[in-house]
Point group: C2
């Protein structure tokens, strides 16, 4: 005996929340395009021609994962990937017309889905929901790089 109540464990809650979202996305938005893929499309609508790493940074995907997601989107013909002539290490990404169309279509459905997903909360609670999660996620993210070490330069 000494079992713990998982409903007070944020990690467990976060996982269940994501699963619930996955489910709803699949039925209400798309079975082809996933939520992370949509995030990438969206980043490229906002800033066409970004390089792969920066897109990953914008949407919160590490170098390996963004590579996989981009390769799937490119395979489906939703984006183009070309070497940066200025810097041969980079790949510059740009949506195709099809990618743009897909993003437009999914944007509408995503908005509908978000409404359904958040329906159990009042408007004020929804604001709070965003705020609390964002603060926790941002803070934990910040622990990654210990920022400026207290002593500046060596």
């Amino acid at each position: 005996m000494a079992a713990v109540d998982l409903t007070t464990h944020p990690g467990h809650l976060a996982r269940r929340l994501q699963q619930a979202h996955y489910l709803l996305w699949n039925t209400m938005v798309s079975e082809e395009i996933t939520s992370p893929q949509f995030a990438v499309l969206n980043a490229l609508v906002a800033e066409p021609g970004l390089d792969q790493r920066t897109v990953g940074e914008r949407v919160g995907l590490d170098r390996s994962t963004i590579a996989e997601v981009v390769s799937r989107l490119s395979r489906r013909g939703l984006l183009d990937k070309v070497r940066d002539p200025q810097d041969g290490r980079r790949f510059l990404l740009r949506l195709t017309d099809d990618g743009l169309r897909t993003h437009r279509k999914l944007t509408v459905r995503t908005a509908r889905m978000n409404q359904v997903f958040l329906a159990p909360l009042s408007s004020e609670e929804q604001i709070l929901f965003f705020d609390l999660i964002r603060r926790v996620a941002d803070t934990a993210e910040g622990l990654r790089n210990p920022a400026e070490p207290l002593v500046a330069q060596p």
Copy 2:
């Protein structure tokens, strides 16, 4: 133009939250045992001898995923898996001494990690955080099985 603000998309937030948690878990709790694995150990501390499907139900893992997680835990010698003599379809799961020890050790570390993770929120906000996420996740979960169809029997 028509890009969307992902910081108001619960799915995106949920994903970032889980990533942040994963990161912290990895550094503060264990690099061997994952959070879902701990959840399974915990379920078996509470109810030894559960069958695989029920454990999955308790911790929110579908039949395929629970099978993988259980197989890893069993490979590491943290649990035993035996056929139910009463019902030849089931596997009954039970922690080994090692599994019990591991659970005890991780319980302490997990509590510490949760404190750090939730540190940006006040006590009241933490309660709210749990409540809001739980309500959203539960409601979306509920949409899965449309409950009783309005008309009872055919």
